[in-house]
Symmetry: C4
Subunit: 199 residues, 4 copies
């Protein structure tokens, strides 16, 4: 290792893919399995917030994975510091099932739903900020492939994320349903061809 | 990535394998662990729907993984849109432990079992449809290896899936046990040598 | 894939490693987390069967993974049928957290512990049998590297597994503690240098 | 395999990355999801030990993964014995969610928190010891790349771990909060550029 601190991104990508894959699959545990004596039809109707939260979070983590994947078609080297920044990036990703469960639990409770969506939004903002931290570090430290030097457009794409998620989070103070609709709309928008930041 | 939007499928396969591996392994959490004061012999007998649901779902996800694996021996390039279609494909895969738990919980309850098997069947139909969406997009966009252009036989193989699962799902309205037997039979049939669609 | 049914084992190994890694890590969920009002010291003492079951199962799945890993240094091709046999092999592996939880729950209950250890042993026998099925199919179908044709010693190594685990399982009828001790001893023995079957 | 027992580390790294990724992502399950009738604001405030435990454990497992990753840029061969040592190394890693849940549950309980932090510390000591066992075996058996023979500095780095964690664990007897602060400080220190042992 000596003085050469830079390495390839193979195991970084494998570990990151693992955390993404587990976080996205653990989401299903946020949907409560009813007891046999409960009426299943009623449960499925009453549980709609859990299905909505599951779908929005699944697509959101999916978009984040594709975005991370995109970023790492351009980032080809890594440093120890970058590995740790990636760990800090993964912290709110792996945390995502918790705010998802809060939204599923409280969306029908007038007293708790604003706070639940605020926690959900704050987690999304943290992830969006960490995307910028990762990208900024990789650009400045020269971890990119030569022909893919950062341009204004790409960087603007990533810096849009925190703004949009912060706006959605603040909207939760007025109306948590509007906030959720914003989160869903942003995710679907980014899934449209050619709309993902960093491309 | 500038104008070049197509990339190799390495990380796509790794992420997909991860979601499949986690979903198939999380199935075991749908089998309730009894309390020490319960009679274990009685519990094991009463829990037979959980063991049946576990086995059918495990083999079904296994067949789906092999099928996805097969498909990606022919699909060798990817686009951002294809990555998102694959995310939409993984959504019902990762959701599978939930309907499995519903079947395990309600199969002995006359009032809930039809609905439980309907949810189970609908999830299977969604997966079968997404197989066709993935395959159709990859064929039309030219993501296949040159010598493996789609032929009628292969495409017919994939389009059979939604029909079979829809038939099984509709059978649940008449008799949920017959529906489960159809799901199990289809899975076992596809495990026989040379029977898997897309080969 | 047309007439060529044989392929390399890359994604098979990746998927299998995923299931092993998840099953071995889910074991920790079989250890109940106490409530704050419980006395932690007493809980830790009373929970010793859970710690024992966790350790034995962790090492057992570890040995199985190393054994699978060993086998696949010699198996270098795969067929669709072999992929499905591997899925059948993974079924009892992924199921392992359930019998582990049964042993943890019932080892101190005179009425249930024999049955709990029997289920645990039967799962181990199933895995040991599937090792032989995998190895037998790979040998007969010529999926091995040329210089590693099966020899009697290797095959005898694998066929020892079911016998040993069956003996341990039958011992549970007399005394479940003796049975667990046999399972632990076999696992530790196979971890000693040069003792693993298939090497 | 015959007489040649040494092999490359590809699947070892993949399996290890899998266990690390699952253990770090399962941590989120240690944060209890409140019931709808509970006041969410109060729950979030009362749950602060769960958030603190989650963050410290997440970063700790992250540092351990980076450290393992570092070690395996130098370790390029493996033996069966080394695979088993790595399994023993992974045992306390995969166990980590349990002591994390104990700390989250008992940190506000004067009667149980010392013991909870002791279990947490003991698990950390076990991991730190296993790092030395892995490194010592790999050095002595010549599994390293030629130009990276162990030097005193590197070895001293790894042997510092058990001492530091043991000191933190013993501090828990006096004050569990001080012990947690030590664990957090050590982890953050190792995340600073150029501070990780083994580099």
């Amino acid at each position: 290792m000596g003085g050469v601190e830079e390495r390839t991104t193979g195991r970084l990508a494998a570990f990151t893919d693992g955390v993404f894959a587990i976080a996205i699959t653990l989401l299903v545990l946020t949907i409560r399995i009813p007891e046999p004596q409960e009426d299943l039809g009623q449960v499925l109707v009453r549980q709609w917030p859990a299905f909505v939260a599951y779908t929005i979070s699944f697509l959101a983590i999916g978009v984040m994975w594709v975005s991370h994947h995109q970023m790492f078609t351009v980032i080809v080297r890594t440093t120890t510091t970058f590995l740790f920044l990636n760990i800090l990036f993964l912290l709110p990703i792996a945390f995502f099932p918790y705010p998802t469960a809060l939204v599923a639990t409280y969306l029908l409770e007038p007293s708790g739903r604003t706070l639940a969506v605020l926690v959900y939004g704050a987690t999304s903002v943290a992830i969006a900020v960490m995307f910028n931290v990762l990208w900024g570090y990789a650009s400045r430290r020269g971890l990119l492939i030569p022909r893919a030097r950062p341009n204004g457009l790409r960087t603007r794409g990533f810096s849009l994320g925190p703004v949009v998620y912060l706006a959605g989070t603040l909207a939760a103070i007025v109306n948590p349903f509007v906030a959720l609709a914003i989160f869903a709309a942003v995710t679907v928008y980014w899934m449209l061809p050619g709309r993902l930041p960093g491309r």
